[in-house]
Point group: C2
Chain length 423, copies 2
């Protein structure tokens, strides 16, 4: 297939795929294990089968399209995730899965026609529940495969309606018996979800590091009372306390050098959530992220000071639990170099970049040589129906992922099993 | 029955009644139409029947214990509400309903023995859903009876699980065919839910006015984006905007003379409520209350300034809808005078007082002569399992309500129909 044919074919498939769970605002909503997620997976399974892949999924519903090229050899995995946030864009995750499928089909063609000598087998992967919006934690499928999250914990996770992952992923007639194969290397392409590439006029981001992050669960304990008759000085209002925490988290970003700290609170549950009763309890998440570990450390220290002051001011107690903490995590330099070399060979502008968001590649890089690529996001918009990437950048990314996958299948980062799932 | 026998009997019944929906913390949870509410109502119906009242309820589940003393005459209604907030105290509402039942039984006895000449009939009433925690709006039953809320609107109100009032109140075997009788006068006793009586060492509050209030529904519109990768300057975070509103509402109370403004936000819903997506939409309530209309007006003006500033600061738009607005509302002076005279006759300390909270009497006073009484709340605690009133004050309130009811039945505030429900 010529490159422009691959490009046209990719854009057509992407438009078709974007119809599953389509929203009026031009985005998609396909939360993990929802009907729209199942529909997208079923369509994708058909695509893979028509392209000659054997479609299977493992016990946590990671979906694989397997292609044996070298009997007994380990696999190059290439993929991303088809699940989305609520009212999300078409690109986040889904772009990378379809790009992986098109790249893998082209690599298989080159092997068949004899222009590429394989050292590894090849599998496309659609990771289950990368987003974590319906079921916690995010990056669930890749966390289970890499042994970071027990399968039982993942299957028992519930959504707000009490539905478990085990219930949500049940696909009648499907066998859940695949043990994923040994992995030689992993590659993923994703939209940037930021403005860096667009502003610098660069087509390809070569992801070399992850921002440092600290993630908290915070519970504010107050005391129920009457919203009307209780005098202000007597109140222990958990929602007022939580509001002060949300404002403080945001204002930390103004106290540190511009652009060096991202903070957010995006989840909140309160009790009793009644019109005339002061809240006794509020639970929120709170994330701090920085491209500089020293800045993050300073932000954590400032946050601790703020929380102590808020406890006094709102007469509440604040329970804080650091649930995730990581420093700047590096992707393997040889993977970054392979990607750089491939981009150069295709004449694509490229630059090293960091990822702020977590990806399934964040898990995979800890167990196998990994290549992580970005294409530009228009205006940096993401987790929003207005998320876009130009056709030109989309197909440039597919071409690059094809080149990277070919090199990985040829064994450029090694052809031994770096990691054996469940092993 | 001697007064000390009535007192002992009341305290025993109150302890029994407090067992329905009892919580581990010593309170009750009997939200409107819940199993615990139905159980309490069933027990109360039995009590009324044993005391010789005819038990009926109307189409919105207001429960009546009717006693005909003067064929064809209008009724004196006396009561309060048995429903509660989540994790609430035993007294709020329930105290007044049981006090009304004991008062009415004693008045009936006096009529039977010939020591009281009735001019009106007598009914105990348990208003449906005064609290409004499960179904909006609060004071639902008295609002329907007084024609302020269409019955159909009330029956169609849903809780967070989508259950309607019509579904929640269905009591198999009960006829919903009572049209409430014409009303000559209304009396209610309630705990103060504040510290005023306790601090001044007064047993009885003679409620003469309601605080002025402005109640808002506020919707903050932001824009979904990625909590990690979106640069801070690009965010339109609806939860950050809402947090600024919650803090601003609280801080208004510091800018105005001490004790002259109560403010609260106690309800919050956000979308999408996901760990990695900035909130696009947050909806909250916001109440301002003051014993001075000029202060409330100033607070509303300051709030408007704050909301405009928050729209700029958080890059959100804030939709505000004033849902309720009232000035200082007076109870009829002749009702206050009747209560004062009755308290004096019993030798109970008493003082005029305002109510900050709304009560079913707030609705009833608009259609019929109404007497509203308070007994002290220990430490002003309310809407909390720790809500308490001393036995001494409890029984003093029952004695006073008995005296007030006797005077109303004798026609001291008139014996004509002031209001005919549905008329």
């Amino acid at each position: 297939m010529q490159q422009h044919e691959q490009a046209e074919d990719f854009l057509e498939d992407f438009a078709t795929m974007s119809g599953f769970g389509a929203t009026p605002g031009g985005g998609v909503e396909r939360q993990a294990g929802s009907a729209a997620d199942h529909e997208t997976r079923a369509w994708f399974a058909g695509w893979l089968e028509r392209a000659g892949f054997e479609v299977r999924h493992d016990a946590v519903s990671n979906q694989f399209g397997l292609l044996e090229l070298v009997p007994g050899a380990p696999y190059v995995l290439v993929g991303s995730h088809l699940d989305s946030q609520p009212l999300a864009g078409r690109f986040d995750g889904a772009y990378g899965v379809l790009a992986a499928a098109h790249a893998a089909r082209e690599v298989a063609r080159r092997v068949r026609e004899g222009s590429l000598q394989p050292a590894c087998n090849l599998a496309v992967v659609n990771w289950f529940n990368e987003e974590g919006s319906r079921f916690t934690p995010s990056m669930m499928g890749s966390s289970v495969l890499t042994g970071k999250l027990p399968l039982e914990t993942a299957l028992a996770a519930t959504d707000r309606a009490g539905v478990t992952v085990a219930q949500a992923i049940a696909e009648p007639g499907d066998a859940l018996d695949l043990t994923p194969p040994p992995v030689a290397a992993y590659a993923e392409i994703h939209i940037e979800q930021g403005r860096g590439l667009e502003e610098s006029g660069t087509t390809i981001g070569l992801v070399d590091r992850t921002w440092a992050a600290s993630k908290y669960r915070i519970v504010v304990h107050g005391e129920q009372s009457h919203t009307g008759s209780t005098v202000m000085a007597d109140r222990r209002d958990a929602l007022y306390g939580a509001a002060l925490v949300i404002v403080a988290a945001r204002e930390l970003t103004d106290e540190l050098p511009e652009g060096m700290l991202h903070s957010s609170v995006s989840e909140l549950e309160l009790a009793p959530n009644s019109p005339v009763t002061v809240a006794r309890l509020v639970e929120i998440n709170l994330d701090l992220r920085s491209p500089d570990e020293a800045v993050l450390e300073r932000a954590n220290a400032l946050l601790e000071e703020r929380l102590a002051a808020i406890e006094e001011r709102a007469r509440v107690t604040i329970e804080r639990r650091l649930t995730h903490q990581w420093g700047l995590l590096a992707y393997q330099p040889e993977g970054v170099e392979l990607a750089r070399s491939a981009a150069a060979a295709l004449g694509l502008t490229h630059a090293p970049t960091m990822t702020v968001a977590g990806h399934d590649s964040t898990n995979m890089k800890d167990v196998a040589p990994t290549v992580m690529l970005f294409v530009p996001s228009i205006e940096g918009i993401s987790h929003n129906e207005g998320e876009r990437t130009s056709d030109e950048d989309s197909v440039a990314g597919v071409a690059l992922l094809t080149e990277v996958t070919a090199r990985l299948v040829a064994g450029e980062l090694g052809s031994a099993a770096a990691f054996t799932p469940g092993g």
